[in-house]
């Protein structure tokens, strides 16, 4: 399997790992914020190459995993409405709500469709004018612009039966919440490549200036990740924190201004609830008044009772890297991919799923 031979060059990876080992003094904790990084690290066996002194901890960067239980329940509630078609990305299907999942609802006969792009949902809305088509909006700055573009297009085309249940979230406020947590001991952040394509290196500047924790934007191939870790280890050992872009082939300094403008046209920032992390100020996206018509929550008057995490579920500790999945009492016992308690176990980018699938219960 050699799709990206250069970025998976074994000799290069080995020499990068050796330089990391030479450079690292004492224990270093690096958080990979993004779920795609977590999976890539496991899938390529990167931990195996690194010295024991480098501890990689997984952060809250799997969008499905940080979706609040109430929002999952809202998707399920919407799916149960008559004449409603739910569109979702595949990751969300198996995520357990309080009493069901979209996958189980689909088996019950609800019309729930997996799509690859929000524009597919617009097509569905156009060919089903008597039905309500709701898109389950989950994701970070990576997906939010495409969702916003679909809303702008729907408005322009006068499509009235399309709406979004928006749980989109922003990464920098979550970094802020992590860095301000006194129980967190993170020496460096591996910043998400996809999100950075949109917000650019500059998007993290306020966060970096506030905390001055070494931070590196990284791509997803093994060489990308190892280069970024090496840069972080250099900064940490030399005591010279910086915010660097180690993924320049994809991430421009200022990100993608067009995508951000589309996102800002439709959405304003708001406070948002993150599963396991609670309310993070300014971390969510809410519809602006001009586009409020497309807000499924308002359109269908969705309300929900307070829910709490299932007993024993330590999603919050796992999503903030305070513990590893094998330290959760439910992991690989009450919570498995077949019978999950939390989304981290079923999302393809969830930390628990990564441990289960690639480390088989071992501690990484």
């Amino acid at each position: 399997m050699k799709p990206n031979a250069h970025y998976q060059n074994p000799a290069l990876c080995r020499s990068l790992a050796d330089r990391i080992a030479e450079m690292a003094k004492g224990q270093i904790r690096i958080m990979e914020v993004c779920g795609t990084h977590t999976v890539s690290i496991f899938r390529h066996g990167i931990r195996f190459l690194l010295p024991e002194s480098i501890l990689l901890v997984s952060g809250p960067g799997c969008p499905v995993c940080v979706t609040d239980q109430r929002d999952i329940d809202a998707f399920i509630k919407l799916a149960g409405q008559d004449n409603t078609i739910i569109h979702t990305f595949g990751d969300l299907m198996r995520v357990p709500g309080s009493s069901s999942s979209l996958q189980k609802e689909k088996a019950e006969g609800r019309d729930i469709r997996i799509v690859y792009s929000a524009t597919d949902a617009i097509d569905t809305a156009m060919v089903n004018p008597t039905k309500q088509v709701v898109f389950a909006g989950v994701g970070f700055e990576t997906t939010a612009p495409t969702i916003a573009a679909s809303v702008v297009a729907a408005k322009r085309m006068g499509i009235d039966n399309y709406s979004i249940y928006c749980t989109h979230k922003r990464v920098p406020p979550a970094l802020d919440a992590l860095a301000s947590d006194r129980d967190m001991h993170i020496d460096g952040f591996l910043l998400p490549g996809h999100v950075s394509v949109i917000i650019g290196r500059k998007g993290y500047e306020p966060f970096f200036q506030k905390y001055r924790i070494p931070s590196a934007i990284a791509g997803f191939e093994p060489v990308d990740i190892l280069v970024a870790i090496l840069r972080l280890v250099e900064m940490i050992t030399e005591g010279s924190p910086a915010l660097i872009n180690a993924y320049p082939r994809a991430v421009p300094e200022n990100g993608n201004a067009t995508a951000r403008k589309t996102m800002e046209t439709v959405f304003d920032t708001c406070d948002a609830r993150w599963r396991g992390l609670g309310l993070i100020p300014g971390s969510g996206l809410a519809f602006r008044d001009e586009y409020a018509h497309f807000d499924a929550q308002r359109r269908f008057g969705i309300t929900f009772p307070e829910t709490c995490l299932p007993s024993g579920c330590l999603c919050g500790e796992i999503l903030t890297g305070k513990i590893t999945p094998p330290q959760c009492p439910l992991y690989n016992k009450a919570c498995t991919p077949i019978d999950p308690v939390g989304p981290c176990m079923v999302s393809s980018e969830g930390t628990c799923a990564a441990y289960y699938n690639y480390a088989a219960g071992d501690d990484g």
Binding site: M1, K2, P3, N4, Q8, N9, P10, C13, R14, T36, V39, F42, R43, H44, G45, I46, R47, F48, L49, P63, V64, F89, G90, D91, L92, M93, R94, I114, Y116, V138, G139, F140, T142, T143, H194, P222, P337, I338, S347, S348, E349, Y356, N357, Y358, A359, A360, D362
Partner: protein, 336 residues
């Protein structure tokens, strides 16, 4: 056929049904055992052990690059029998057709079943056709069952893997599953993918001709290579080590998987096999596999070890290590 659609009458068992069989099926599947049109086929059986298998085919879409549901239904059961180390002999075919199905499409499917059976050297000796009301089935479902003869001295089973065995995969993995996904979802990647659907019985015969010391044969269909290897590791109570850099994957399949967050190790194949071969015969068997049209890209991807029993461990392309677990449910495309 004057009408161009299947009607409920075609499944009635009466004149319309007889005509469908006489005009469309007998000419294609012609053999004395079938043309007697008895309730079942009767034939002599050779001495020794037989293999018997059944599978149902519900693929959507029914036509795809590289094949259709018809040849898949023949190849699939032929391969299941071949993976028992047997020479496939006779097949049954059960058709469940949705009312209103295009007769032209049915003919195309039956024709490719006939071609595949001919290619595999098996006879379709008995069959059944049902027509169900519109909506009660999705276009057409096919069940095939088959029997085959296991040659003297052949003992192939998922329980037979032994430490030291070399693991051969007969070609690039994931081609079928990715082709189907690509077609079904109408994804607009210009990827030129093609299913690998093919009968593997002749390949298996060539391999067994080299040595009878082939311990396990498996066609990694649903669940892919990863699931098949996990099943074998568990059943044989052995450990399996594979090397990522030796696993053949077409560039377009690898690229497609990478974009959608899928792992080719879990993607279905319909014309590939995995063989566990005693170490000293592995190179000879590999050479033979590579001579076969179905095995040109064959590789040795790993071996059986007596450590980490029940687990499959992969040396990653960059020199790391990780577990390869069994597929839990269908792979679903990720968000980003």
């Amino acid at each position: 056929m004057k009408k161009d659609r299947i009607l409920l009458d075609h499944g009635s068992g009466g004149r319309m049904a007889n005509r469908l069989i006489a005009e469309m099926m007998l000419p294609l599947f012609n053999n004395p055992m079938l043309s007697r049109l008895d309730d079942g086929a009767s034939f002599d059986i050779p001495d020794g052990r037989m293999a018997f298998s059944t599978d149902s085919y519900v693929v959507d879409p029914i036509f795809f690059p590289g094949g259709n549901i018809g040849d898949l239904a023949i190849n699939g059961t032929v391969n299941d029998i071949a993976m028992c180390g047997a020479v496939p002999l006779y097949l049954s075919v059960g058709l469940i057709i949705e009312e209103g199905f295009s007769i032209k499409d049915l003919e195309a499917i039956l024709r490719s079943m006939s071609v595949s059976a001919e290619k595999a050297g098996v006879k379709i000796v008995t069959g059944d056709t049902k027509v169900v009301p519109r909506g009660a089935a999705d276009k057409i479902f096919i069940n095939t069952s088959g029997i085959g003869q296991i040659p003297e001295g052949v003992n192939v089973s998922g329980e037979n893997a032994r430490p030291g065995d070399k693991i051969i995969v007969s070609g690039t993995i994931g081609d079928h599953g990715i082709t189907i996904l690509h077609q079904r979802e109408g994804l607009s990647f210009d990827a030129q993918m093609k299913s690998d659907s093919a009968p593997l019985n002749h390949l298996v015969a060539r391999m067994l001709n080299i040595t009878k010391n082939i311990h396990v044969l498996r066609d990694p269909t649903r669940g892919g290579v990863a699931t098949a290897l996990n099943e074998i590791a568990a059943k044989s109570n052995v450990g399996i080590r594979i090397r990522e850099s030796d696993i053949p994957v077409k560039k377009n399949v690898a690229g497609f998987c990478s974009i959608l967050g899928l792992d080719p190790l879990f993607v279905a194949n319909e014309g590939k096999l995995i063989a566990f071969v005693e170490k000293q015969h592995a190179d000879d068997v590999l050479r033979t596999v590579k001579e076969d049209p179905c095995g040109r890209d064959a590789r040795i991807i790993g071996e059986v070890v007596s450590l980490h029993c029940g687990k499959v461990i992969m040396e990653t392309a960059i020199g790391g290590e990780r577990i390869v677990n069994m597929l839990t449910g269908e792979q679903l495309p990720r968000i980003c």
